[in-house]
Subunit: 297 residues, 4 copies
């Protein structure tokens, strides 16, 4: 029996980078959080402390900031591809690169009814995500979003479920359904209009959440995933992770009050958690990184 | 020398309460976090463990949920006043009540171009706050907001400052200015259109942040506060707490690149912190609770 | 009616500073988070953007790091006094300084049964705090701790309380009591062995929490406060803020199981919150900053 | 092309469960956070909203609390196995179960020099973790810890690294090394003294961190992993994830002060991140859940 080094990677996590475009009076902003990781023949660093093949994480950070100037930050998927290709193609020992980016949304301040040229408010709760992996198997791009908080005050049921000796839950045909959606979608190509696709996917998911008379959060996720795959040919697989943020109708009967779906306690923990994948049956095989990052612990 | 009980209060913190209005197909949502605290002759509970004058915090929570049904949740200032008056007027030993409420904002989901009747997305980062104190000195209402994240990419300077032997900071006449504003405003009356006033105050603060050519964050706060006091007669004092969320221009010169205000590192800590009060010179005296909660540690 | 500038201060928050002593093979560590704030005639900065009296927050940060070298970081109260005195005495326009420090605790790594010379593990949850205010009224020192998480599995009751129409809580004579204590103590002098006093106060508070048959969290706080004032002459006032971290006995009766105080659900929110002051009746008057920071919103 | 349901699971996350043993005057505490997830033929719930095979997440929660009473909570790995076996063996449609548990550590309060019978303080920062997967491939147990915060003030170098046009980092032969270790170890058997093994693994990792003259964090991780595999036959693979919590020597030269490794700024973000696996070459194949949860995004 021998002990060996298995999978490994190293990089710089969470470089908070803000890129402005100031070419005219109307400025633009891109606000991102960049994490880079490199793979390759780095065994000597582990086994003997030999750094001769190790590009410092500090250098990776510098590269991200330099590229923000020289290449610009347009779609986060594009920026991730630029960085990943550079590390794999231009830095001799590197054989694989993984770039993860979060993007935060800003809306222009409205002053006296007009959008302001150079002032913004942070908007929304959700974070746009991208994960790009480049190695000798090709270029793999995953788009996504997280913390998209959705709630509907009716149009959700939960009944007819399996029971055993530990079941006390009553059935309901009208409940509040709320979640903080975490979704990732795997592209089958890099020939994509990334920003338009992001907007489209988000719009479809919100539509399905709102319009389906939901018999279970599972059913809602299935409808979200199929709606995306039916509408967006470039996406081959969708992974959804949805906490069931429980809203419990408060018992007002001790106080002589009815509560027909009006007053709820929004609980923190515990919460239900539903995780599912919706995939084309002819999807190309996924990179190892897909399963590792997209989930199903 | 004797040891005595000084100021004290007790209550239930952070009841996460969601109130829906479902009278027609178009539902409405109010999402709040309610904290109640009572004051009065509770010495026996401290000194001897005698609870006979102590209304349980669990009862305070029940009251908030029951009132959400029986009184409804309109403006948070109004809901706070309802609760505070009840505790002081209806519960025999209670002489003072302090109600603090946070409100979270939701926007209707847009489906196929139309606002949906019963589905929402959480919107914005900022939280609306209200603090109501009722006791024998009267009724005191404080409105507010926190975590209103604002950023401008130009129109901010910092120069001509005092220097000493520990000063290394260079002057700048064009920098990024960003903050997560925490503001509280004290009303001189309870005869107020609370929701309209909240919208107006937020709009004024955003306008001043955007339009002032700022020579210091201090100057921006002063303009925010005076704009509010000039426009809103019912407000007598404004307290502002603004972290200076530093954006440092990344040094790209080692890589042969210029950086004319385009690429920044958004730092977490440390950060500048500016706290200021803007007040009418004829403002009525504030309740003790104002200073205690509004700050200046 | 005129609009005027009221209370204000500005400074640098949360400089995360680590100071090592490496004079021999056995190193020492001090890990602190330093916040400085200055007060004085800074009106021109607010009203006209004139910075000529404003020492930059960047300079305040530099000063803290420089003092960590030149003065060292012994007790955090001492370090706070050094900084506050410097700003008030050495920087011309400054009339008042407020220094707040958090200290994080480390314990030496144990290797083969022996304490290691230069390796540590972060220990404990609680954070030691100090707040120093120096101005023309004198030197004011407040010690403290926060997030000291305590739990007892018996020895706590809650019964005989006031009831009204919103009361549903049953009485109990054996419950779990848990809190995350936040305590601040005001010193009447600066002639104190700070580190020894901190250890003594913490020890006394833990003792009272453990040994009192508690009829209410209020009673426990009173005993904590009086124990400190009786034992430590240099302390004149204690403020305690204690969330009642509810542990609800889980109802196992549907499953044919008894639950005699064995299985609990630890809830997050809402929680009870008890705040109290215990003070000597001959205590000198407190600085404004005491009430503002120590609470009772 | 058809769209199909891929991997999926559902369950109840983060049931905060506290179990006391009160058989004599000296009580014992187990404080855990339990997450359960079930796998099986649940397609109908997704595709048609048919819940007839779905055991509610509420029932899963009830089961965890009931088992805490009936089975007790000894080692978290054992508790996880009990729950997973129950769901797979006793609930008809379930074919796989995944139980994840976090455990929080408490130390007895010390009162007048003696350990108290029923009062504790939360201790340490690190969290013990366990992940148990049971399905038709067998029983798979992963132990772990996270947020073990370690720091050494010397004995760490970083030099001789690869450079490119984006490299500005200077070499160093004496730096601070700090991390918040996240480690998972895969067992090849369930015949293990879980608690003793946990203590042993933690002790070995701390020892390697402390005693190795580290040429890179990578080398430290390798030594940690090999030390565990050499000493603990029941463990077949170790995954380590270690942020490099940067401590930057503060530049005191503008103030005429030297800084020989004494005064540091502890930065938050960005940070280096090293991830590595150390494995026996004859380790049995891992369950899919291993890679998915243990990482390498």
């Amino acid at each position: 029996m021998a002990i060996i080094l298995g999978d490994n990677q190293y990089g710089k996590a969470e470089s908070r980078l803000v890129r402005f475009y100031r070419d005219g009076p109307r400025h633009e902003i891109r606000d991102v959080n960049v994490t880079t990781a490199l793979r390759g023949p780095f065994d000597a660093a582990y086994l003997h402390g030999d750094q001769s093949a190790v590009l410092p994480t500090d250098t990776q950070k510098n590269t991200a900031f330099a590229f923000a100037k020289s290449k610009g930050v347009e779609a986060v998927e594009t920026f991730g591809l630029e960085l990943a290709r550079h590390f794999v193609h231009d830095v001799e020992p590197v054989t694989g690169a993984r770039i993860e980016i979060e993007q935060y949304d800003w809306q222009r301040a409205v002053v006296d009814g007009a959008e302001h040229d150079h002032t913004w408010l942070r908007s929304g709760q959700e974070v746009r995500t991208a994960a790009v992996t480049v190695d000798d198997s090709g270029e793999h791009v995953v788009g996504g979003l997280k913390d998209l908080v959705l709630l509907k005050s009716t149009g959700s049921e939960f009944a007819g479920f399996l029971t055993d000796e530990f079941t006390t839950l009553p059935e309901t045909h009208d409940r509040v359904m709320a979640t903080a959606l975490d979704a990732k979608w795997r592209f089958g190509t890099t020939d994509v209009d990334w920003d338009a696709t992001y907007a489209q996917v988000k719009r479809l998911m919100v539509r399905e959440f709102a319009t389906l008379q939901s018999l279970a959060l599972q059913q809602t996720l299935w409808h979200m995933g199929t709606a995306v795959l039916e509408a967006v040919p470039s996406i081959v697989e969708v992974r959804l992770k949805a906490p069931n943020k429980h809203h419990f109708a408060y018992d007002l009967s001790p106080f002589g009050l009815e509560n027909p779906g009006e007053v709820f306690w929004a609980a923190d923990r515990p919460y239900g958690l539903i995780e599912a994948t919706v995939v084309r049956d002819d999807a190309p095989p996924a990179h190892d990184a897909w399963r590792a990052s997209a989930g199903l612990a």
